[in-house]
Structures are given as C-alpha cells and as structure tokens.
C-alpha cells in the first residue's frame, strides 16, 4: 500500500503525513486520526454512516480514495462541535426529539441534516427527506429524525426560540412527559465508542475464512503457509479449542469454528490474527482447506422426510424442536362448524441489518482473565459457554458489553467471540475483529422462514369453533434460538382470540441454510401473519366486517388461553375500538366496498418520500408523486 504523503485540513487542523496504508478516506480518518465518529456501516456507499464534508460538500468517505482528498478541507462529526463548544442546533434537536436510539447511524444522520440545512436553510419536509435519502437508520423509523431537522431549521432561522431545543420541564411524574435520553449527547457528537472503534496498544486484527459450501466434510486444513506470512501472529481452527466446544442459546450444537464438517455457506472455518487486516486477508488466501461435498438439504419440509440428508448426527430426523399445544377437542369443534377454511401461509428469511456490523475486541488481562468486549445481547450466557469452551473457570472469563449499534435479536449468538478469545489466548495480545457488511449478512442468524398450514372451523355468525395450526420453520444449520422461537410461536399462535378447541404444532428443523435465530417478535410475527390473514379471509367468506369477526372471538377477562392461562384482564376490545376509530374504518364486509376506499390514505396515514422536491413544478398532483421504497 502507498506510503504517499497526504496534506489536508481536518476539522480546522492541518494534517500532513504518510497514508500508512489507509486506502480510503474513511480508513485514514478512523485508523490514522482516530476520528471514529465516522462509521463504516456498509463500505459500499449505501448507508451514510461514513458521511463527511469534503470542501463543503457532503460525501461518503467509504467511497473516496484517501489521496482524492489531498489538499482538501475535511469536516467530520467531531468538527461540528469542537472541544469546548456547545452542541450545534441540529445535534441538540436530535437530542431533544429522541432521534438517536442505538446511535450508530446518528453521526452520519447529523452530518446529512447539517448538509441539508446548509444547502437550503428553508428546506421543507419533502426536501429534507430527499436530502437525507442516502442515510439509513434501522431503529427510529425516521419520524423523530425528520422532526429534529425541522425543529433545528426553525431555531436556526429564528422562527422558534432556542429554548425549544432544551429539555421540557417535567413534573413529578415522567409518564406522559417528553424525557430526553441521557446517552444522546455522546451519540449526536460521535463520541460514543462501539466495539469496532476501540483500539488497544499492540492490537492484532482478525479475519475469518468462511465456508464456500453448504454441506461438506472437512478433510484437511493446512495453515502452514498462512502462518509463515510476515505479520501473521496466529492462525486458529477448531483444533485449537481446549475445552468442550459448542454454543447456542438452547442446544450447544455450534462449534466456535467448523469441526469435521461445514453446514452452511459462510460458516467460520479458520481465523487469522495479524498486524493489519490487510495482511490477515492475504493470509486467508494461503489457507488450504480440502472439502468433500455432501448432499445438502435446503427445504425444511423436505428435511423432515425420511432419508433426507442429516445435518447433525445427534438429530437424525433433523428436528431441532417440536412444540405441541392442545386445548379442548378439535375434532368435535370442526364437526360443529358451518364453514371450514384452510390455507397455507409462508414468510421469508429476513436479515436484521443493524447498522453496526458485528465487532469485538478480546485480550487476556494481567490476572489471566480472558476478556471479550462486544455488542453481545446475551453476555452472561456467553460468559458461561465460553468458560466451558476454553476450559477456564468462570472467574477467568469476562464479557464486557459494548454499545450495541442495533441488535434486534441478531446479536444474541456467540458467532465470533469465541474465535477472538482463542486468538487472544494464543498470542497474548489484544485481537480485534470487525465484520464487513457482507460478512454480517452471510454469517449471522436470520428470522425463521415459516410455512404455516391453518385450518379453522367457524359458525355462520363468525364464532370460531376450532383451529389447527401447523408451522414448519427453517432453523438453518444450527439451533441458536430456534427452540425458544418455536415456543413463543406456539404460545402466540392463535392471537388474542378465545378458541375452545385448538391444536397447535410448531417445528424447528435443521437445514443447510443460514441459521435462523432471534428476531424481534421471536416467532410471533410469523404466526400473527397467518392468524390475522386467515381471519380476514374468513370474514370475507362469511360476509362479515373484519373488526366484527375479531370482536366476536376476542378474549375477555376470565378467558382461558390455549396454554391454560386464565386472563384477569384483557385489552383487545379497547385496542380494536381505538384502531377502528383512528383509521376511519369504513364498516362492512371486505366484499361490500366499491373500488375506492375512503379510509385509506387519510390525512394521518404516513406518505412515502417523494423525489424532486427541489424542482417541483406547480400542478404536480399528490397522486402523481413518485414513491420510493
């Protein structure tokens, strides 16, 4: 890499030094100048966590070769409110409206908002949305961010008093009051350090070799050439695990790195710790792995058939977990029905796409305590599992939870912390691993795809006499949270409806797909999608209003759920009433309406972003707005 020299001004200070191998402006700012408020969420120009001003124009620093900025004036998030000065109105407004949640997108968002108002101090909401279009946030849903930019705009223009940006006065009660987050100032200023921002003296960088095969036997791994490469400190494989290998939220079926065979594309096979990430990547190419491909299984239903390829020897039927729940007598219930409605619903795999890719830093401290810093959503459990894996007593294992730049369930699995611990033990140096976005997508758990077969018996008046729900979920290659997700799906399956006779079965199944794990709702979304869709279809068949069919079946205080819980209170009646009123629902069976509905697209329905606000012409009608996903 180049040792060409670069001279530029960063946040008002002149910097003149060799590139030291930093290929992109983002690397130079983060690694050479330690300005870690600028983040790398994707490295491909998609997310905007890396936005900085170059000669007054906002750009994505992950796409800019460092030398392109030679002679330029750079401003980063740290430069917006330099040491000793107050937060800017934009930063204060983000604090005020609660626009920062996990905070990982926030420095970039603040930069984009600042740019929008510098370019056009009078930008209206459409133009603000348009100008922030290059920045993604996975937490807030954007509303609070847009609100913050509008407040900041009006304060800067003098239309609102500066006090608008200060905390609201609260009385004795916080309920109903607008309370500012205490961690927001560090996020809006780019000061909060996430795991990937942390450095330690003498730190090594890890890169991971991943499986190109979905199902294959590992015949041999030759790491000798990689180990011989200058700058490489260690190469680890499953052979380096001193204790009992295996982790998972329920069943400990996943080794730290693939052992004997690989079970999905992207599974870790070996890892290198080296002086730089670039050297570590070069070393990966020198590791020789001999595989013997095995037939794979990619469909959960097929995986349940006799004779299907077996993913784990301990589970010859590929079953991770089956949760059956029974109530009443379903056969009698169906016999009593006037109408039986059957249907199958399927949902797909979903990636969490938290803006902070997985990252961690491990070291062995002066007392020999193996310490892992990472945005783990489950540190206590990780600590216990790791102590077994590395065969150390629990008091010699420590997990520190760094700020989580979005998790949504996706950071519950210990998919990389074990490798970091092993490398730190082997080298006795701190080791850091930062996933790329692509790596995060390929290696981390996804939401369970599900296929749900529903059968429901109803009386002509809409009352449900019986329901049976059969759900097959693709758990992927490892158990992870599958068992819990199946339990939760079974518990929430029938929704808030009082059904006398029911039969629920949820199955989590091994396949050679990317593992499925925890994801917001933990199985609830899949079954609710089926239940609520099914009720709408039943309402249509019976000529009933969709709200009405729900009212006729809803639980009430005193109802017993299918898991035999007796409810003391129940709020669904109130929820239905408010939902119906607020959406201006037009009553009637789904079939009774004409082509046009007046209850959709009302004034309180959120409209999507429209493009072209900057050159919008008079006469552009609302229905001609171009929509952006």
């Amino acid at each position: 890499m180049p040792d060409q020299k670069i001279t530029l001004t960063v946040n008002g200070r002149k910097v003149s030094r060799p590139l030291n191998g930093a290929p992109r402006l983002l690397d130079f700012l983060r690694d050479e100048l330690n300005l870690t408020g600028t983040k790398e969420g994707c490295g491909a120009g998609e997310c905007g966590t890396c936005s900085v001003f170059v000669d007054g124009k906002l750009v994505k620093s992950c796409l800019m070769p460092t030398l392109k900025a030679d002679g330029a004036e750079i401003q980063t998030i740290e430069g917006l409110s330099p040491v000793g000065s107050d937060l800017t109105p934009v930063q204060k407004a983000f604090h005020k409206t609660g626009a920062s949640q996990c905070g990982y997108c926030i420095p970039g968002m603040v930069m984009a908002a600042t740019s929008a108002l510098r370019e056009n101090p009078d930008a209206d909401i459409e133009e603000i949305k348009e100008r922030l279009g290059g920045n993604i946030c996975r937490c807030t849903g954007y509303t609070k961010i847009f609100e913050a930019v509008e407040i900041a705009r009006d304060v800067i223009a003098g239309r609102l008093p500066p006090v608008t940006l200060e905390a609201d006065e609260t009385s004795d009660s916080f309920i109903g009051a607008n309370v500012r987050r205490i961690d927001a100032p560090s996020k809006v200023a780019g000061k909060l350090k996430y795991a990937g921002d942390m450095v330690m003296p003498d730190m090594l960088h890890m890169q991971v070799l991943r499986s190109p095969h979905a199902h294959a036997k590992i015949l041999s791994i030759d790491t000798s050439q990689a180990e011989a490469l200058e700058g490489v400190e260690c190469v680890i494989t499953s052979a380096d695990v001193p204790g009992k290998d295996g982790f998972g939220v329920f069943v400990h079926d996943q080794p730290i790195m693939a052992r004997e065979k690989v079970r999905y594309v992207g599974e870790a096979v070996a890892a290198v710790a080296a002086e730089t990430a670039q050297i570590a990547r070069r070393a990966l190419a020198l590791i020789k792995v001999e595989y013997e491909e095995l037939p794979g299984i990619f469909d959960a239903e097929e995986a349940m058939q006799p004779g299907a390829p077996v993913v784990h020897d301990y589970a010859p039927d590929n079953l991770v977990k089956h949760i059956p729940v029974r109530k009443g007598d379903v056969d009698a219930g169906f016999a009593e029905a006037d109408l039986i409605v059957e249907n199958t619903y399927s949902t797909q795999q979903v990636e969490h796409a938290y803006l902070e890719p997985e990252a961690g830093l491990a070291y062995v401290d002066h007392d020999g305590v193996v310490t892992v810093v990472s945005p783990s959503q489950n540190i206590t459990h990780h600590r216990h599992m790791l102590s077994e894996i590395i065969a150390k007593p629990i008091n010699k294992v420590r997990f520190i939870m760094s700020a989580v730049g979005g998790g949504f369930g996706g950071k519950e699995d210990m998919i990389y912390q074990g490798m970091l611990a092993l490398a730190a033990m082997k080298t006795e140096r701190p080791v850091r691993l930062v996933f790329t976005r692509e790596e995060s997508i390929i290696a981390s758990a996804k939401r369970h795809p599900a296929r749900i077969t529903y059968k429901m018996g109803l009386k002509n008046d809409g009352r449900i006499t019986a329901a049976s729900l059969h759900m097959i979920s693709d758990g992927g290659a490892y158990g992870m949270s599958t068992e819990g997700v199946m339990r939760k799906a079974a518990i929430l399956s029938l929704g808030p409806y009082d059904i006398a006779n029911s039969q629920v079965d949820t199955y989590g199944v091994y396949t050679n797909n990317t593992p499925s794990g925890a994801f917001r709702t933990f199985g609830g979304m899949q079954v609710q999608f089926a239940t609520e869709s099914h009720l709408d279809i039943c309402a249509e068949k019976l000529g009933l209003d969709p709200f009405e069919i729900r009212r006729r079946n809803m639980m009430r205080a005193g109802s017993t759920t299918h898991t035999q819980q007796k409810l003391e209170t129940c709020s669904i009646e109130e929820v239905l009433r408010v939902a119906e009123e607020f959406c201006r629902w037009e009553r009637g069976a789904p079939t009774s309406r004409g082509a046009e509905r007046r209850d959709l697209n009302g004034p309180d329905v959120r409209q999507s972003c429209t493009l072209g606000a900057r050159f919008r012409m008079p006469g552009d009608e609302a229905d001609e707005k171009q929509e952006v996903a």
Binding site: E46, C62, L63, K68, G133, R281, L611, G612, R614, G619
Partner: protein, 305 residues
C-alpha cells in the same frame, strides 16, 4: 478490499494521457470512484489490488461545461449533482434533473461522473437513456505519437454491450457532447429495488416539445434502459407522435408498442408490464414539464379502455 500501490492525480490532459499510456496491467483510470471502489468487495470482484490508479477528476480540461451552437459540451468531470444544482444545465438538458434525482443520493452524486457511468456501461445505467434522447456523442482522447488525438463517437455506437464500450485501453473520455434543448419538457422514470441501489431494473427518459398552444407534439424523444443488452431510442414511437395532436388516446396507443421490445434475460413479463406504464408516464410527465396539464389516474384508465 480496495487497495492500491500508487495514486496519481494529473492536473493537465497531457499528464493524464501519459499516465494512462503507461498504465501497468491491472492499473485503472478512476473518476468519482463510485463504481470502482464498491466493486472491489466480497460478492462482486472480491479483494482487488490496483498497482496504479490514475484519478482524472482534477484534470483542468475536464472541468465544467460549454454551450455552443445548440450543443452542450459536458467535460468529463461533470457530476450528476451538477444536473440538479446548475441552473443553466437544468434549463438546457430538461430530462437530466429528473434522471439525477433518481440517481443514488446527494452524496454519491457529488462524486459520480456522467463519463464514468457511460464507461461502466451497465445495461440499466441511468445516464444512457436520457443522453440518447439528447443525441449525445462521446469525445475520446489519446496520445498518438506524442500528440493529443481526438475522435468523436455517437453514444449509440459507444456502448457495445453490458460492461463493453469502444474505449481503447489508452483512451480517456474527455467530454460528452449533446443537444441543448431549452423549452422542451423532460422526464425520467425508474424502477429498482431501492433508490440508492446501484442498478435500475428498467428506466425510461423522454423529451417533448409542443406547439405554442400545447396542442401538437412538435418533437418527441424517448429512450429505454434495462430492457435489452444496450439502452435504445424508440424512434418508431417518436415518429408516431411527432406532428400529431396531443391526445390521451394517442399516448396510450404509443405506450403499448415498446413492450414488445423487451429482450432481457430475466423477468421478461414483469419488464414488459413496466415498460408500457413507463412510456406512458414518461410522455405524460414530459408534457406536464412542458406546461401541459397532467392527466389523473381515471383519464388514463379511460384512454386504455
């Protein structure tokens, strides 16, 4: 991972051409970098190491644009944001602001050059269809026995296929030269998975000039991208409309035809469906930009019935 050994930023055309003539194998010209840098990633080209990168974005002759004799000369470093921010370009290239607003985002547009977009020659590159409607030519330069030699190639001949152009290894684009069409209404339509995703599925550009009373199509220019290996002008539709009275029925009729051209390798049915709606919307939006009233959804359905 994107890495390189040395990075040159020539300031003059001659220096740039000399650097390009000397490019070692694996060396590359770079402008905004918005194609090259993310290309060097997993899932695309993987780790790419460039022994030399020649950055042409500071070459003095590549800056800015000129208006001369009904044509605009867009020098190689004109970036997409210029089509939005520059009032002169907006007035003279009426389809370009619409194209630019759909192109990536404000930050990428500050870097992304029109020249780089054309060289990249993706079948769905957003810049090609509107530039076709503007009758663009590409000016290419190289060193020939030490002298700067230029040739001009019509854009229709410049793009040979996906990722392929007539650009020679030692050549640079110095400018894109196209019609200046003040008074025309312009539009651009695009469907993709996300606005900031690199590739459109299908895109369409239109330019329309009407008689002073707005009743007759004096000129119509249409082009489609993403429906075949190379973007193309819809000259038959243009001929069908030119000189005719503006009517919803005629526009509806014209929009049915181009769907037959869809020759992509994937999702043909979907693309055909989209193309019809697109051509119609492209003409209507361009008419509206030229000052005509915009038909509502109901009028459209009537015209098709």
């Amino acid at each position: 991972m994107f890495t390189y050994d040395s990075y040159h930023m020539p300031l003059t055309l001659r220096d740039a051409l000399e650097a390009v003539a000397k490019l070692p194998s694996g060396g590359r010209v770079i402008a905004g970098g918005t194609d090259i840098v993310p290309w060097a990633r997993e899932g695309r080209a993987g780790d790419v190491h460039f022994p030399v990168l020649v950055d042409v974005s500071r070459v003095d002759e590549f800056q800015g644009y000129d208006l001369q004799g009904g044509r605009v000369r867009l020098n190689a470093n004109v970036v997409y944001q210029d089509f939005l921010d520059d009032a002169v370009l907006r007035a003279n290239l009426p389809c370009m602001p619409h194209c630019a607003i759909w192109f990536a985002d404000d930050q990428i547009r500050q870097q992304a050059t029109l020249a780089g977009n054309l060289v990249n020659a993706s079948p769905a590159a957003d810049g090609t269809p509107p530039m076709l409607t503007l009758n663009a030519e590409v000016e290419l330069v190289r060193l020939d026995s030490g002298e700067i030699a230029r040739r001009t190639v019509p854009l229709t001949d410049f793009v040979l296929g996906p990722g392929k152009t007539v650009l020679a290894e030692d050549e640079l684009i110095s400018a894109v030269i196209c019609d200046a069409l003040p008074g025309y209404g312009g539009s651009f339509q695009k469907v993709g998975q996300r606005r900031s995703l690199v590739i459109s599925r299908v895109c369409a550009a239109a330019l329309v000039k009407t008689s002073a009373d707005g009743r007759v199509f004096e000129d119509v220019r249409l082009a489609l991208g993403g429906v075949g290996p190379v973007p193309a002008r819809l000259t038959d539709i243009e001929d069908m409309l030119r000189g005719q009275p503006v009517s919803a029925g005629l526009i509806a009729e014209a929009s049915v035809k181009p769907a037959e051209r869809v020759a992509s390798r994937s999702r043909v049915e979907y693309r055909r469906h989209v193309v019809q709606g697109f051509v119609q919307a492209a003409i209507e939006d361009a008419l509206a930009a030229a000052g005509a009233p915009r038909p509502g959804q109901k009028d459209r359905e009537k015209a098709h019935a």
